[in-house]
Subunit: 443 residues, 2 copies
């Protein structure tokens, strides 16, 4: 593992969004495009960023041993942020023929049982972290399984790269196979132990992770809320309003609550560090509750399409002032890659008659995702002092992309073409905390 | 160019569908999976196909110079058939922000104007044919531009590989830039000349290609119908019911006809060799007309999503007994690849609560597509006497695919995983008329 105190100096073409915005139309004015830029990191953070020609004095102050890494033809953007993904489902992408509830019982639960074995969890955790890096994802909010071992495995794998990962043990004390259930009590004690062990250790952060309302008893949700009160700085990560049968089931299970979101809200699980995956079918009063509690949504287009869950109304997040990030939702999602996720995000909006611009897409994948995770002070762009997580993109990874990029009218058009046709081949290198953590091998 | 009289012998794992079916549920019984098979071609056609152990005598009868090409770990399937694609739009995949009619005016027409230049058309035609091969597509029904040169360019490029391509000059005499319009009269004479020149020459076939009803005058459609009467063996290829604004426009332009399809039907443009791209919003009586005339639909999922056109009801093609094939619809579609197209086809069905099985997907991409093009006697599976177009698939093109394939329960599950995660990296080799036309370079 390389030391984080070292400096790194990167020269190239940089693109980011300088500030968070309240409306999509404001993004354009926050786009920062530096055609020949310099970025200097120090101890994992951005120490200097600007035009190459303005950075010569800064460069001279660095140790003479520092070599400037030059990416003359690439595009460097902030690391992608995945606000919803399941690491134990890495191996089950493309499980056929079911919608949410049947898909869980048929495929997901049998897969997750394997993670009681720490050695197996370790193996998949390493694979998973490598997939994130290969796809330019530098931060993710991750479901583990009900087993404590799965959390240890994931954080141990992430630590090797000093990745900023948020994860937690699943809470599930009903409506699942016995090998995958805990109890209200040990969900509490195990989570507490894991919080003490991992939250704030290095760049790791913890998320209290009830799978979804149907698989937790009221008693377990109450204990989850208690934990959140004791550790207000940790996250809440769960699912919400993905599928109409699921919603009907929740209403049946919790008749005393005013709809699905109200179950979580009742137990104190909404808030600035609460992330709800999907939210495809929120009711009006639920949008209001999301806004009022400053809770965030993880929009997972490839998953919503693959499971036939429905079309997420992204535009409404702006209208209702609700935070939103992008999620791949592996393994119901079909790709680890945020470029492919954005391709389908665009299509989901087109089906609703809405436009998703390239710059808005970039925002959701970077700074907007950081805001959804309440990490916009640390991640999401090249502002000085932020953590130095970024991706080097090759816009010409295939012959067809090259043909199209030769005809790109401007950087926005080039970016849109990348988001339409891109995949992991476009990720040339991924830097975590100022260090190169992944370099695509020459093909 | 290699001679087609030579024999080729291929050993490997083969999968195809033996016969066309009337209902999706019948496909399973027609699946032919030969784990260790042998395929021998002679003069471009399949001379023998069966189990390796049963083919030794056939092998001995071949010239001693013939080497058996062995693909021990791959999967060999019939070549993919793309029933709707625009070669002049190769360079414009990922054009931002519009639905059909605005997209045509903003992006498509300016792009197509370039194809009056034969040298430019040649360049893109070669690129296009290479993309087809790279993606395992061995037959396509292709839109050219209004220019005769574009048709010559495409057939000349396809001839180099002896590909079975169907294409034609666009007919368009109104509602388009002057540089892209013909007249009713020269649309007729130019098409006639091209039919005489190309239809039935080698494996080339011609399609009379009115862009869509709004860009042809009644007089031009009448001349198209006249041409079809004079050359009943050629194809009709056009667009139908893609977008609700388009449909409203057609009804306005042709008030005397009973809806969109009736415009084509009225001018004699429906029939067994007529292919209508999209058909997302057909009315009930239009489904009936499609069935009664034995016309075919090209289902183009990536395009329907990218332009926000809507969700094609694939299941209805079985209910209504209407032929259907898959189309990539480059450049409104976002990939040349039929695996990626099937990924999105599945999602489009899931959103409608319907299941699209892996074997049904394979059917649409191969034998079903052949039937849509009235070529099921020549293409679509490994039956003896058929033309020897096939694809060698590597199921493990990425680390994630390998992880998933190791867990595949059976060939159907393996195929579904391929269709969910696959792309051009899975196409290891493409054979056209018995000869290897493409081999992926080692990466």
């Amino acid at each position: 593992m390389s030391s984080v105190v070292a400096s790194t100096a990167i020269r190239g073409r940089f693109l980011d969004i300088q500030n968070t915005v309240a409306q999509a139309r404001e993004i354009h004015d926050q786009v920062r495009y530096v055609e020949d830029g310099l970025l200097i990191t120090q101890a994992g953070k951005i120490q200097w960023f600007g035009r190459w020609e303005d950075g010569q004095q800064q460069l001279r102050q660095l140790e003479s041993s520092i070599q400037v890494e030059h990416y003359p033809d690439q595009l460097i953007v902030p690391g992608f942020i995945d606000t919803h993904i399941h690491f134990p489902q890495t191996e089950m992408v493309g499980a056929y023929g079911e919608q949410l509830l049947e898909w869980l019982n048929t495929y997901t639960f049998p897969t997750e049982i394997q993670f009681q074995d720490k050695a197996y969890a370790d193996q998949i955790a390493h694979f998973f972290v490598n997939e994130l890096l290969k796809n330019g994802t530098t931060t993710a909010l991750v479901f583990c399984t009900v087993h404590k071992e799965s959390v240890d495995a994931l954080f141990e794998a992430a630590e090797q790269y000093q990745m900023r990962l948020i994860a937690g043990k699943v809470l599930m004390d009903r409506h699942a196979p016995e090998a995958l259930t805990d109890t209200a009590e040990n969900a509490y004690t195990d989570s507490k132990e894991l919080i003490e062990k991992w939250h704030g250790k290095g760049r790791n952060l913890y998320a209290i992770t009830p799978r979804f309302a149907p698989t937790s008893t009221p008693e377990q949700l109450k204990r989850a809320g208690q934990l959140k009160t004791e550790y207000p700085d940790v996250y809440i990560h769960t699912h919400l309003s993905e599928n109409t049968n699921e919603i009907a089931w929740v209403k049946e299970l919790f008749p005393e609550q005013n709809g699905y979101l109200d179950v979580y809200h009742h137990y104190g699980l909404t808030g600035n560090k609460s992330v709800f995956a999907h939210c495809v079918h929120l009711e009006e009063h639920e949008w209001d509750c999301m806004h009022q509690t400053n809770s965030a949504i993880a929009f997972c287009p490839t998953s919503n399409l693959f499971l036939g869950s429905g079309l997420f109304p992204l535009k409404k997040t702006w209208d209702k002032q609700v935070k939103v990030g992008l999620g791949t939702d592996i393994g119901a999602g079909t790709s680890f890659n945020q470029l492919q996720t954005l391709n389908e995000a665009y299509k989901v909006q087109q089906l609703q008659g809405d436009k998703l611009s390239a710059f808005e897409s970039l925002y959701h994948a970077t700074l907007g995702g950081a805001k959804a995770l309440a990490l916009e002070d640390k991640l999401g762009n090249f502002n000085i002092g932020k953590e130095a997580d970024f991706v080097v993109l090759n816009l010409n990874a295939t012959a067809l992309q090259t043909l199209r990029q030769q005809r790109a009218k401007n950087i926005e058009d080039a970016l849109f073409a990348l988001f339409t046709m891109g995949d992991d081949r476009n990720i040339e290198a991924t830097y975590i905390y100022g260090q190169k953590a992944y370099q695509q091998s020459a093909s």
